[in-house]
Symmetry: C2
Amino acid sequence: MSTENKPYVIGLDLGGTNSVFGIVDANANVVAETSVKTRGHGPVEQYVADCVAALDVIIEQVGGIEKIKAMGIGAPNGNYYTGCIEFAPNLPWGTEVIPLAKMFSEALGIPVAMTNDANAAAIGEMTYGAARGMKNFIMITLGTGVGSGIVCDGKLVYGSDGMAGELGHVVVMRPNGRECGCGRKGCLETYCSATGVARTAREILSTSDAPTLLREIPLDQIESKDISIAASKGDEVAKSIMDFTGRLLGEACADFCCINSPEAFIFFGGLTKAGDLIMDPIRQGYDDNILKCYKGKAKMLISQLDDAKAAVLGASALGWEL
Amino acid sequence: MSTENKPYVIGLDLGGTNSVFGIVDANANVVAETSVKTRGHGPVEQYVADCVAALDVIIEQVGGIEKIKAMGIGAPNGNYYTGCIEFAPNLPWGTEVIPLAKMFSEALGIPVAMTNDANAAAIGEMTYGAARGMKNFIMITLGTGVGSGIVCDGKLVYGSDGMAGELGHVVVMRPNGRECGCGRKGCLETYCSATGVARTAREILSTSDAPTLLREIPLDQIESKDISIAASKGDEVAKSIMDFTGRLLGEACADFCCINSPEAFIFFGGLTKAGDLIMDPIRQGYDDNILKCYKGKAKMLISQLDDAKAAVLGASALGWEL
């Protein structure tokens, strides 16, 4: 990272609710921050204009646009090759293809790159986090869904169309897997996302009468976090849910290893807050199912990026590559 | 490929029975060929000496070693990074790690590279075959086992240890998958290799009494080829076996697409001789299970390399990269 004259990059974490901007230096310090609501701007041109107005304030704080090398955007369905958001159901522009990278680049006069949020997280980890110095690793983000960013020989895997790396939609139960929002069955994210974990809890609670702290919560309101907390108190049912989730995720990682043979898997997201309660079963599921020739090679790590800043850091990291 | 002064490469297809050498030009012509038995040479040093003696004859035929750019070896458990064969159960050197690339390089005085046979096939396809000009594709070899070579952004995926790309050992049935020779359960190759197809036939024939041409063959002698032949004659049971095999392979490819989003899958091996009888169900299984964002993008192709020469061509193609 040549930072002599242009010591900063801008990161934009574009979410369904908020668009969070950070100005970041080469040591992962977010030196200035601002945000705007993602919705309510009318056409996307106005959204960009409103973002740039907010950005101008913090850009001045760090010495003006000439101090900024580039900008990176992490956005759902963000395509690295085209710089467009393609058919993102949770964003206000619906089924349109939005050339957002180009729009910001023209408005700010700096290079702008975009990718999806999980890919941005992987680049963030490689630039500032647990994957520094690694050339082959797989980032797995455990949130409402399961996202992933795959780094192969030092480069993010974008595939033929810029959309590679959707490990959350690899089928891990066949036949008779759980129905997934994507219209298919048995996808990893139906089991190992926060919503998948809550689904497992509801299945177990409604088909057994084992005593558990989780019964204090209305069945349809149980969240992944509640299960982590109960497990940390020694609740056996909650521990069995973490065990099932982690083992299946570990088994899936053993499959992914057959593809890319990474030196590490790096996990990010709420579920990792459970620490060993989730990481131990992940390691167990992996070790019990890994092909002999890969045994003992890959590390299972938790992200080193600060949760609150990880998305902005990840997006900003894209900027250093420009 | 700069072929001005050194117009040829040597390819070695190292199999459990035969070691086949070809001298190949840039247009995939095998201009000279020889082979030695893989076994019966005693120590590996003698094997290399005997190979070089056989090679010297055909090297002279093309004008001497100064016409040869390099050599590529395709071998089971061949590691590209180390140039070693690592613990190959079907080769005479057992559990030893054999630095075969270095040994040939020293004996011949030219650069030598090695990888496993399926990776070599992928490089062969990229150099001479159906994947010319492609930067992202997945080669799947359907033989006694299921092998694979993954090309990502124009480069073979070797992973952190040189051993990536074992798609045959991705688990496609969970739980209750078939036992695999690797000691795990549900691996793709237990269903979609030649042996997997025969296994499906034995399962169906021993649990139903549906009439089929396959009953003319003793149950324990049914081979994948017999099923292709019966299917091509319109035998319903044989067609259902091809259908099951192809659909599952197509579903697995839909999963692999979530990882690398290739522009094509290229299939090689005996099973592809069945043509549309296997390719139609592969396409069907793929189309029915592919994530929306990838729909209609990847082609499903059959290898364009001549079967008899494909392994030597693939190995030789490695030589052009040196």
